[in-house]
Amino acid sequence: MIEANNVIKKYGQVTALDDFTVDIPKGKIGILGPNGAGKSTFVKIALGLIEATSGNITVLGENLDKNSIEIRKKIGYMPEHDCIPNKMTGVEFLIEMGLISGLDYQTATQRAHEILGYLRMGEEKYRLIEEYSGGMRQKIKLAQGLVHGPEIMFLDEPTSGLDPNARQEMLETINGLAEISDTNVLLSTHILQDVETVCDYVIIINNGKLQIKEKVKELIKRQTDTIQIRIGENSEEFLSILRQNDAKRNIEITERWIRIPYKDDNSFKEIISAAAKANSQLYEMERVAVTMDNIYLEVVN
């Protein structure tokens, strides 16, 4: 869907993207990274809004150096910040955006009403945007990006500033719209859960460099929740007692540690009981959970 080769973007002395190379497949892709990682810069370059200092990007097979304007017909963009005119009604604004995208008036009007209907904006669409809540403003921002039926939708921090309910609703809407319209989604965010909810693939950026590109499912598989122990003598007997209780249990043994999967708090009692039976001394015992957050932080840091 998008290929970036050795892209460098500098703002004065600051390097926002540093030799950034990535091949982004079609589907719902999350670009994850802390604030200032270079996500928005990448999105703006991919959209042709700003030019890279060096390197090149192709979007849907077209080189941005040659065709950065025409390609925008196939792209929808929802910026992070508030950028919608207050003195228009929701439907007027959507029609205007449809027209600026190249739709004729009739199609733009029809499409605006369809999208706002899908977003469950009934009579509100006829109110001035300045009267809208934060959630409704985000919906309008999303809708304007979809009005011309793009092949890719760039979403820059779509849940920014939303309360938990509105955030959940926004993510469900993105998911729903992407599914029914066959639109590819490029979701730029610093919130891991948003990527987990929406995306098939995740790309983690930090300091302008690609840190990881992986399927979200694979990343989820990396999550573990174990009890880590350090034991004295008779460790073999201790392990055989544990295996008697549950043969399928995946116990990880290293030189220093034994890691036993955590099921619930009874797991601690089971370990203590097995150690007592095996006459083994327990030196250390703690629960170690490797969550998506841990993986993300490990990559970023």
Partner: protein, 305 residues
């Protein structure tokens, strides 16, 4: 469920047929013009009404027989279509034209920059220059409505007074082309100045005040200084007039009509002569710089959030 299924079908089946950039830009411009010309803009409509009434009263009802130009002295000629852009006391509509340009252009880019909707417009299949053209079209068209149409009306009225004599048209063919060129020249110049103030100041009311003050206010100050320098016989004193946009545009406007330029200082007309190459060079430099400034402001805005 049925309704949801229908929506899904509509979304899936949507195959956009998008028009090209030229149509998009033209469409943006036309819609912008419609907005300026709508009943919501009562102040603009009121000022346009004054210009038309003024033209009707001073040029159609009380119009002189000496058309298009009247000889004042061996060196000086006054022309109807030059007077139209002049001061009120000479029957000109300058103050209204500047006021309309200031009020109508002030929000064109300022509003997009203030609410940041410019980010969304520029994410569409149009370039920065396309956007600028789309924002110039409304004010340019509006200015043509108050410059070209009244002047053409005066021309047609004179043609009518001549008894619809075809010789009038052949004798005045240059008058017609000159007045069209002159209207386009003033309209494009005021449009560029307008969008520059709109982009640079970013607040509608301040931008219109800034435009009016800088263009009309400065012209009055410059005239006073020119008068003083003229009384004191200062060398190169005439170049003071080039500091005023209005006088600068008038100089070119007189050149379009191939008439000697003069200013009325303390009640008496004074001939001022500048080389054409200097004036054209200055004009190109000034207005290309203004376009560059607006383009730069927008490009900076694109990068920032």
């Amino acid at each position: 469920m049925k309704k949801d299924a229908k929506i899904e079908e509509k979304f899936k089946d949507f195959k956009p047929n998008l028009s090209d950039r030229k149509k998009i830009v033209l469409g943006m411009g036309v819609r912008g013009f419609e907005k300026l010309f709508s009943l919501k803009n009562k102040s603009i409509l009121f000022l346009i009404g004054i210009v038309y009434l003024w033209t009707f009263a001073f040029y159609l009802l009380l119009g002189e027989d000496s058309y298009p130009c009247k000889v004042v002295s061996d060196e000086l000629k006054t022309c109807t279509h030059l007077n139209f852009y002049g001061d009120l006391q000479q029957g000109g509509t300058r103050i209204f034209l500047v006021l309309i340009a200031a009020v109508a252009s002030s929000g064109l880019i300022a509003n997009d920059l203030t609410d940041k909707s410019i980010h969304l417009y520029l994410s569409r299949p149009i370039s920065r220059m396309d956007y600028l053209i789309a924002r110039i079209i409304p004010i340019f068209s509006l200015m043509l409505v108050i410059t070209l149409i009244p002047n053409l009306a005066v021309f047609i009225s004179q043609f009518s007074k001549s008894g619809l004599d075809i010789n009038f048209l052949t004798d005045n063919r240059w008058t017609m082309s000159n007045l069209i060129l002159q209207a386009i020249f003033y309209s494009i110049s005021y449009s560029i100045i307008g969008i520059t103030f709109s982009a640079a100041i970013r607040r509608e009311s301040l931008a219109s005040a800034g435009f009016f003050g800088s263009v009309y206010g400065i012209s009055l100050i410059v005239e006073i200084f020119y008068g003083i320098s003229s009384e004191m016989n200062m060398e190169y004193g005439e170049y003071i007039l080039l500091l005023s946009v209005i006088h600068f545009l008038d100089i070119i406007s007189y050149k379009i009509f191939n008439v000697n330029y003069f200013v009325t200082i303390f009640g008496s007309p004074e001939l001022v002569d500048y080389s054409s190459s200097l004036i054209v060079t200055l004009y190109v430099l000034l207005f290309s710089s203004l376009i560059f400034v607006v383009n730069y402001i927008i490009s900076k805005m694109e990068v920032s959030k």
